[in-house]
Symmetry: C2
Subunit: 143 residues, 2 copies
């Protein structure tokens, strides 16, 4: 039987990273919040037993290895979320969209299912990141 922890361990080991308790706790936090992204301060609070420096290094390692990605929603805090399986040690592939709900204030990663490249005909587009604020579908229908 393949538990959640096992799959996270596998995720790490596939990238030559050791499956330490801190890393597993970190990834489990992000996984539980999917598809929402998590702020650094929430991560720090959840991992308050862990040294600040270790968290910074863990984040940097995970960014480098294509396990998580960063979202700067508007001007304020930095958010982190798990990457999809397209990302690897080599490179990140994110043509996606971060939506911040004005009502529940969650930042969620939305799949970008329509082409956006027509927007700039004479440009060669390699990477797209979109930040949107508004009211998310859940808040929109329940209020």
């Amino acid at each position: 039987m393949d538990t959640t922890i096992d799959s996270l361990k596998k995720l790490l080991q596939e990238r030559d990273l050791r499956a330490t308790p801190i890393r597993l706790e970190f990834l489990e936090l992000l996984r539980l919040n999917t598809p929402s992204a998590v702020t650094l301060s929430v991560i720090q609070e959840a991992c308050h037993n862990t040294d600040r420096v270790t968290l910074y290094r863990t984040i940097q390692t995970f960014l480098d290895k294509g396990i998580i990605h960063k979202a700067h929603q508007s001007k304020e805090e930095v958010y982190y979320a798990l990457c999809n399986s397209n990302c690897s040690t080599k490179a990140h592939f994110h043509d996606h969209l971060h939506f911040k709900c004005s009502s529940c204030s969650q930042v969620t990663c939305q799949h970008l299912n329509k082409e956006i490249k027509f927007l700039l005909p004479s440009f060669q587009i390699n990477k797209v990141e979109i930040h949107i604020e508004g009211v998310c579908n859940r808040c929109n229908t329940t209020t």
Copy 2:
């Protein structure tokens, strides 16, 4: 005759801001770089006679008054650019797009002339900011 400096002075005075040399130098720098956005470090280098604190306060004032806007291209540096005339002391109106060229590494503000709201049918969209990386039209045609 209405010089550039005069129009910048007018821009400031319309918003109850004094037309000081520092502010005029700052705005002239951004104006010269239009439609590219300018990094904080470039601003600091260009205004190296000016106190750090004054620059931070100048930026904050201009953001508040709708004179400039901030762009976080990807993960790294903060960029600033002049707002269009839609923005005011009351609010910013930017449904636009920041494009970072992989070749010349300039970040330019591009007008968002097509609707993007169809991308998320069940969401209410209030604010859109898009970050794109690729090769800009100038580099694309000259190489």
